[in-house]
Amino acid sequence: MDALLSDLAKACDDNARPASEDDHVGGVTPRFVASPASTAETAEVLRVAAQHDLFVVARGAGTKLGWGAAPRAVDLVIDMSRCSGVVEHASGDLVVLVRAGTPLEELQSVLAAADQELAFDNALPGATVGGSLAIAPSGPRRLLRGTLRDLLIGVTFVRSDGVVAKAGGRVVKNVAGYDFGKLLTGSYGSLGLITEAVFRLHPRPPAQVVVSARASDAASVARAAHSVVASQTVPSAVEIDWPAGTDSSGGGATVAVLLEGTHEGVAARGETVQLLLEPTGTGSPTADPATPDWWGRYPFGAADVGLKLTCMVSGLGALLDAARDAAARHGAALHLRGSAAGVVHAGLPGETPAGVVSSVVDDLRACASSYAGSVVVLTAPAATRDAIDLWGPVPGLELMRRLKNELDPPHRFSPGRFVGGI
């Protein structure tokens, strides 16, 4: 063990140590933590891991480390916090090259100095570039800007055998070679360890307005959302927030529309959206300069059950309805929040019994699947997580297994955390 630790330390400038319980991944405590500061050091650490046949999980800030299934085994956590910083912000090209361990807030503050941004809404303070790429969360502005997969244009990563590879590049338009960035994005760290990423950026819009309306039932919510999505006002986001327990008499759902652009443009578009929302709301729509408190945050905390529901855009009302029904039927307190793009997050209190969570998820899957969507359990307390099917049906699973076997034959990375036990 001492020899192994010393090999790891040698690989990353003496930044390796025995793990403590705080370093656990989904309840599994590793033996060591190594903190490389560069792609080269990360590769060296992984070569040591391969030599000693260690199971490895990469960690950014750890904000989503408990998401997915518990790993079957973890010997080594590779902590990427030292592999941090913006390498190059080419503002004239609207491109940034950044190391994986960089916190998103730090990245955004560098970009803001040039009135630019990575058009990604991070819900979890402290989250890093690499950890976000690994899990591929999404926020309100995915409606207009897409998700991290759409913003990532180049990636450098280390394979489980310690070989460094890159794909994409530093220009937005590039079709040379396979788009490995998309495979790594949302792979839960199971294919390779991302060390550097290149993103396309957007100019920060000079003005914004948020138009909000209240609605009392799923049909009204869906109608309101659709009227804006189908308009020519080009909303950056159309979000729905529906806390648990609010019934039809309470007018419990909020539909909020974010418009970004020039001062003149935003003012005119805001008026149009207010008119669109007028007939669907339970009161007059309001226009505010700032987003509401709940904006861009998950409707669940770290100790709760977090779900992600998807459906085709036209199925939004039915899915919301089904979710509310299922919650009522099973006596669960379900908080819904999501995008008119057909991606909704839902939260259940952590103390909800596993059987109830399972029943709600089953009902939601039945509804989501009839609208081409899926239900994934992102996070849950260990007892619940281990008792239910987190992913539901996964089309293409056989191809995914073959991909995993090619890239990481010993299943060294995050074993068991991802779909189908990958």
């Binding site: 080419a90 004239g92 090209d93 491109v95 009135d115 591929a136 897409g146 997969r149 394979r159 070989v163 590879a165 890159k166 530093r170 220009v171 937005v172 338009k173 590039n174 079709v175 040379a176 070679g177 396979y178 788009d179 490995f180 998309k182 495979l183 994005t185 819009p205 659709h226 999505v229 189908a230 308009s231 020519q232 006002t233 080009v234 652009g261 020039t262 003149e264 443009g265 003012a267 005119a268 578009r269 998807t310 085709m312 855009v313 036209s314 057909g342 991606v343 989501a368 081409a372 969507g373 899926s374 992913w391 089309p395 293409g396 056989e398 191809l399 991909l403 090619e406 890239l407 779909v419």
Partner: protein, 496 residues
């Protein structure tokens, strides 16, 4: 090596599965499929099939698998990288018979189409509802959605709206193991690896799409287009930088240089301002108030950058005329030069002025130091995202010209790589550019990418001899002939 007997047996097998006349073995007919849009390379396929259903495509792939015969899928055959160049001992699977638009679901903002559907027809189907399909390659009147998916096609408006990969949400795929798999659909973010993201742009090496679900977008409320003429490409490049630096994201910014303008004028009489060393076409779209505000800024930036004439499209007819010159530029160059090479390199936008000057120097002097004359290079490009389309003009009948053009063309790609760019922005690597891949990627990069290929196609039968210059042996089947392209084997590819 595939034998004639193998092909005969396969043809017989497929005749039992495909429609009457859908299995072509007649040499004269086969010859009509010998190239795609990059007509310089020609290979007559051993067999051509024209399936009409997913089951038929699967049967063809299974047949090829059973007999170890390589295959190449082809859409409309408009590709410019030789990606659909047939295999001499293989089957060419022509997807153009599968051309039904299956579903236009406006409420879900999606269309479900067969792969042979023409790009523009998706927009035509959606237009009555006020929607359109955003990716608009210049060949959109004839290119197919399946081909677009294989190449991750772009177009003039991808600066703002992204590429095919940002607009495909689902695919039904006949994987190289002959199985039919559905990935994604009308909803977003299916669980598991983003295989769809890897398949789009994989140039037919990871399977054959038999059904594609695409995003439909709401048509913009307002569109404004201007044409600005500049003394040289330097000033036009400065205008582009100023527009982007001001935080304006136009739907498109296109540039043409003097030679490209001359060609377009000759071919389609687009009436661009005389004496221009460069023209820019800038188009803004979106909500009325946004477009009007930003359009004023764009005009001002063009003036500040010394545009000597600015025309603003008064109506759709004038806008179409601006675009006609641009969209016909490739074909137009054929009118002023017997032969030409289209390149597709990408550079960071800020490197534009410097790179254009170096291309001009290459064009004036050639890359040789023996005093031989250079070749003419016409520049047409997507200036907003740095995607160059230099057209290197030559006359094959003049000894040495083709070789010189090829050298200049390669030197331009080297310039792109030197500036941190790419060898291809939207045309694909295909057969044409795979020899440049090692200049952009390390052996480890390419080896890693091919692990994906091995996962999908361990026997290496799906469009072999494309994209990667050195095929990787996949673990399970050691020592197999990996189907390096016969042209490459014969050394023809580098002769040009």
């Amino acid at each position: 090596m595939t034998t004639n007997g193998t092909i005969h047996a396969l043809a017989a097998r497929l005749r039992g599965v495909l429609d009457e006349g859908a299995v072509i073995t007649d040499r004269a007919q086969l010859r009509t499929y010998e190239c795609d849009g990059l007509t310089y390379y020609k290979v007559v396929p051993a067999l051509v099939v024209l399936p009409r259903t997913t089951e038929q495509v699967a049967a063809v792939v299974q047949g090829c698998l059973a007999s170890g015969v390589p295959y190449v899928a082809r859409g409309s055959g408009t590709g410019l990288s030789g990606g659909a160049l047939p295999h001499a001992e293989g089957v060419l699977i022509v997807m153009s018979q599968m051309r039904e638009i299956l579903d236009v679901d406006i409420a879900s903002e999606r269309a479900v189409v067969q792969p042979g559907v023409i790009n523009l027809n998706v927009t035509r189907a959606a237009a009555p509802h006020g929607y359109y399909y955003a990716p608009d390659p210049s060949s959109q009147q004839i290119c197919s959605i399946g081909g677009n998916l294989a190449e991750n096609s772009g177009g003039a408006h991808c600066l703002k709206y992204g590429f095919t990969t940002n607009h495909v949400t689902g695919v039904e795929l006949v994987a190289p193991d002959g199985e039919v798999v559905r990935l994604g659909g009308k909803a977003l973010d299916p669980p598991g690896y983003d295989l769809l993201g890897a398949i789009v742009g994989s140039e037919g090496t990871l399977g054959i799409a038999t059904e594609v679900t695409v995003r439909l977008m709401r048509a913009p409320e307002h569109v404004r287009t201007l044409l600005a003429a500049f003394p040289t490409t330097d000033e036009a490049g400065a205008a582009v930088s100023a527009i982007i630096a001001a935080g304006v994201l136009p739907a498109a910014i296109e540039m043409m240089d003097a030679l490209a303008i001359e060609a377009a004028e000759y071919a389609v009489q687009c009436g661009y301002p005389g004496g221009a060393g460069a023209v820019l076409i800038v188009e803004l779209d979106g909500p009325h108030a946004e477009v009007e505000t930003q359009f004023e800024q764009v005009e001002a930036h063009c003036r500040d950058a010394k545009a000597f004439e600015i025309r603003i499209a008064a109506d759709e007819a004038e806008r179409a005329l601006f675009w006609k010159g641009r969209k016909s530029a490739f074909a137009a160059v054929g009118r002023i030069s017997p032969d030409y090479i289209v390149q597709d390199g990408v550079i960071p936008r800020t490197a534009l002025p410097g790179v254009l000057r170096r291309i001009a120097a290459l064009s004036d002097r050639g890359i040789r130091t023996d005093g031989s004359p250079g070749v003419r290079v016409a520049n047409v490009f997507h200036a907003g995202d740095g995607n160059l389309h230099p057209l290197v003009l030559f006359d094959e009948s003049v000894p040495g010209e083709a070789q010189l053009a090829e050298e200049v063309s390669g030197a331009i790609l080297d310039l792109c790589i030197e500036h941190g760019g790419s060898i291809t922005g939207e045309h694909g690597v295909g057969f044409d550019k795979m020899k440049y891949m090692p200049r952009m990627f390390t052996d480890d990069d390419l080896d890693t990418m091919q692990m994906l290929r091995c996962a999908f196609d361990p026997r290496g039968l799906a469009n072999p001899g494309k994209v990667f210059p050195t095929p990787r042996l996949c673990g399970e089947v050691p020592g197999r002939h990996k189907g390096a392209h016969p042209l490459a084997q014969a050394g023809v590819a580098d002769v040009f």
